[in-house]
């Protein structure tokens, strides 16, 4: 476990795992946070399977055990299989993932590893496969997931592992 649980919600009563977590201590931001999460999944141009690929890559890179264990039901319904999830590894470029899926992972890695070092070559590849609006959508998804997973890690109490669990978008 990564340190002790560093903040707790003394009144978990909603039945919603996010609202009942320590995030519930700051209700002034929580509704906006949840609202943004829903819009990222539902109102952009990229589908849930594509978004889930970026989310899981971030989860693995940041090593958020909670985030790694989760599968969104809408992503599975959109065609994201566990076989595909298993390819979200450092050697993804040699995998059977599609070119678009590989570029989603490359973009996520660039954000996490060296956001100021984007090369002209990767930029050209991205623009050949995605519209500019899709790339803004992917950007906001990755930034949101990065912030959320770092938040979970920062608050401590992370177990060493968890089984895979399917969830729906929290309301």
């Amino acid at each position: 476990m990564t340190g002790s649980l560093r903040a707790t919600n003394p009144n978990p009563s909603s039945g919603n795992m996010i609202r009942d977590s320590a995030l519930g201590l700051v209700p002034e931001t929580l509704d906006h946070y949840m609202g943004l999460n829903r819009k990222i999944w539902e109102s952009g141009l990229l589908g849930p399977a594509a978004i889930e690929i970026a989310r899981l890559r971030n989860a693995r890179k940041v090593n958020c055990v909670f985030c790694k264990s989760v599968r969104y039901d809408i992503a599975r319904a959109d065609g994201l299989s566990e076989d595909k999830v298993a390819m979200i590894q450092d050697d993804f470029r040699d995998s059977a993932l599609s070119q678009r899926e590989k570029l989603i992972l490359a973009f996520t890695d660039q954000f996490l590893n060296d956001p100021g070092g984007l090369t002209d070559a990767l930029k050209a590849e991205l623009l050949a496969q995605f519209s500019q609006t899709e790339l803004v959508h992917l950007s906001m998804a990755v930034a949101h997931f990065s912030g959320f997973s770092r938040c979970a890690v920062s608050l401590g109490g992370m177990p060493d592992s968890l089984p895979v669990m399917e969830i729906s978008l929290p309301s």
Binding site: T2, G3, S4, R6, A7, T8, A22, L23, L25, V26, E28, T29, H32, Y33, G35, L36, K39, I40, S43, G44, V62, N63, Q110, F111, L112, P115, G116, L118, K123, L126, L127, Q132, T133, L135, V136, H137, S139, M140, V142, A143, H144, S146, G147, F148, R150, C151, V153, S154, L155, G156
Partner: protein
């Protein structure tokens, strides 16, 4: 104009996704008016992240007014008299957060909670997640900074 939009700043880049932009703007605004952590402290933490990421765009941005001397001395926050114990606790947490979130310790968290309680710590990590993400996007989007004054270059060095 950046490589992926006709915009040259965060707001114009996000405007191509109005639903997401509206929700993000509401969330971002809520950070500065909540009661758990003073906005001035959030701003020095945001600026410290900008320094650590060497982001001129985010360094030039101002979301909350702070004394000029404080931004000038931010790289020496740990010893400079401009910074209070509460600011130092939050900046110490911010620096480790920026370098390796997994390396955060219970002691660093306790330092923040000693001044602002559990809710203050939660507020700080929520805000750092958003600041860090948007700083990375400013770099990745290659948003143009205003003409760089030598003092900006010095602050990011």
């Amino acid at each position: 104009m950046s490589w992926l939009s006709n915009g040259d700043d965060r707001e114009s880049t996000l405007s191509v996704l109005p639903d997401i932009a509206e929700n993000f703007t509401a969330l971002y605004h809520s950070l500065w008016v909540q009661p758990h952590l003073p906005a001035e402290i959030l701003e020095v933490c945001r600026l410290r992240l900008a320094q650590l990421h060497r982001s001129a765009v985010e360094w030039q941005r101002r979301d909350c007014a702070i004394p000029t001397a404080k931004s000038e001395h931010l790289a020496r926050w740990d010893t400079h008299s401009d910074f209070s114990d509460a600011e130092r606790a939050c900046l110490a947490f911010t620096e480790v957060y920026a370098m390796d979130t997994q390396a955060l310790t219970d002691e660093l968290a306790a330092g923040v909670k000693g001044h602002f309680g559990d809710a203050g710590l939660v507020m700080l990590v929520e805000a750092l997640g958003i600041f860090d993400g948007m700083t990375r996007l400013s770099l990745l989007w290659q948003l143009p900074a205003d003409s760089i004054h030598p003092a900006v270059g010095e602050a990011l060095r």
